[in-house]
Amino acid sequence: MNGSRRLQQSAYHLGLWLVAIIFFLPIFWVVLNAFKSRRDILAVPPQLAFTPTLDNFRDLFARETFAPYMTASVTMSVAAVLIAIAVAFLASYSFSRFKPRGTDFLMFLLLSVRMVPAAAVVIPIYMMYNLVGWREDWLGMTLFYAMFSIPFSVWILKGFIDGVSERYDETALVNGGSRFHVVFKVILPQVKPGLVASFIFNLIFVWNDFLFSFMLGGRTTSMIPVLLSTGLYADGGVDWPFISALTGIYVLPPVIVVFLFQRFLLVGMTFGTVRGEV
């Protein structure tokens, strides 16, 4: 490679990094604000140089609302997605191998549930939960989120199971394996990437949900986004130090997960309908 080509490539790479950084800038600003004192956040002109402080975080952890909301966020999203994946894996194996009558129609219905505006979904569930007494209930909420995570998991996992040759099933059956053996010992290990993809994607979705949590969860079963909305105002103004610290903490887990599992992002974001390298 000669000098001018190398220079050209460096400029190109610099440009790419610049684009990435521009998109990241607002989030960087959030994180920066989390380390500022209230005075620095509200300072005119906005401060780039300031004395970093951990007071916002200390404040946040000391609030009695933080721990229960955070616990709810973590336990509900993980439990719901795990339940959903278990249910979806079994169903998608059946869809893929036995193709029972109505498979296509059911897959279609499952998908359309996720295409409806959240407020439309929450209205009947709200009435139903009121009636049964599942509102403000950990299990009720978790099962609801599980239901919400099933459609995409089925779509993602069916794609992966379709990709595993049926010869594996036949060989195992001929050699005297039971059907359960086929499902759990032969197929399951081969669709691990699909399991990871559906786990990550649905986790991010549940993690970021606000509306369902707000309408259906009570004080003990609401997640952090609700706290962001209800804790927005304090002392007659917006409580920016609190919001900044909380947002900064809350965006971290998804970012780490996507950094570690980047190749699954595409599969997840398109419900398994698009696969390929990025």
Binding site: F23, I27, L111, A120, P124, N208, P225, F259, Q262, G276
Partner: protein, 304 residues
């Protein structure tokens, strides 16, 4: 032993595996939808404490004549067209830019930074942009003042609020179209690209004759998914503008939420929710139609 043999029968086994999913589907989808349809025929408000009263198609009639709702539908339509349009153009441009980036140092970190906006809680993004749009202390106004453009109260100015919200949505979801574009470009066979290179086609002819035919389906899937998501937007504006000033940023999902949970007019809201459900089913059909087109094309290519 007999139980085992019974379970091993294909039909029984197939049903056994689907059963949990069907239970979920029945309890959380079928029953709620039936409830929704049922309630939509009633005048049912949770505020008045009156028992629900059957009014037939009254709610639907009211919806048809509700000017404010049609306005909100119109606004949502322009919202979808504008956001998805900008995101698609920008996303494809950036995606093409990133196409040859295999040797970019720290590529994984750069892509993670680029994709971060869509991982942020939409509600939090909305709240935070409020701070950044703030006329006196917001950083965006600091920049506009520095550039000599003056101060704007983005979120309380009727002529600016919609554009300001569009900007945030574009920031959040352009990365998604970049992701889709990268996948679409990845699906173009290397051999055809090399052939085009050998033929010395100019870059735009390469794009139109070689890249587009292969990339178009994945791009279409991406655009459709964005359209559907954009139609559902609500968390983003919930705390950023709350639909205001006036109703300039009130999208249909927010209108529905307000009628249901601020006015607690559940009959009317159920009727609207049912209409939105039908629209979602229509969207999904289009989505699946495109998906099947793609599958058929792939099969044709495989057999050719």
């Amino acid at each position: 032993m007999r139980v085992r043999r019974f379970i091993e029968r294909p039909r029984v086994f197939a049903l056994l595996l689907i059963a949990p999913a069907l239970i979920f589907f029945f309890v959380w989808n079928i029953i709620p939808v039936l409830t929704l349809i049922g309630v939509s025929f009633y005048n049912y408000s949770m505020v008045t404490g009156m028992p629900p009263r059957y009014i037939g198609l009254g709610n639907y009639e009211d919806i048809v004549y509700s000017f404010r709702l049609w306005e909100s539908f119109g606004r949502t339509l322009s919202w979808v067209v504008v956001t998805v349009g900008i995101e698609t153009v920008l996303g494809i441009a950036i995606g093409i830019l990133f196409w040859g980036s295999v040797r970019l140092p720290g590529r994984r970190l750069a892509l993670t930074l680029l994709f971060t906006p869509m991982l942020m809680t939409p509600l939090a993004a909305g709240i935070f942009f409020r701070l950044m749009y703030e006329p006196s202390i917001g950083i965006i106004n600091y920049v506009t003042r520095w550039a000599g453009l003056g101060t704007f109260s983005f979120l309380s100015d009727r002529s600016l609020a919609f554009a300001a919200v569009v900007f945030v949505d574009v920031w959040m979801w352009t990365p998604f179209m970049v992701l889709i574009t990268l996948a679409a470009l990845g699906s173009v066979p290397k051999a055809e690209l090399e052939a085009a290179e050998v033929d010395r086609l100019p870059w735009w002819r390469r794009l139109v004759t070689v890249v587009l035919p292969h990339a178009k389906f994945i791009l279409m899937i991406g655009i459709l998914l964005r359209t559907i998501e954009s139609f559902k937007t609500m968390d983003l504006v919930f705390n950023m503008t709350g639909g205001g000033p006036g109703t300039t940023t009130e999208l249909v999902a927010l209108t529905l939420w307000r009628r249901a949970f601020e006015a607690f007019n559940l009959g009317w809201s159920s009727a609207l929710a049912f209409i939105l459900l039908l629209m979602a089913i229509a969207f999904t059909s289009i989505f699946l139609f495109v998906l099947n087109l793609r599958r058929r094309q792939q099969e044709r290519e495989a057999s050719a």
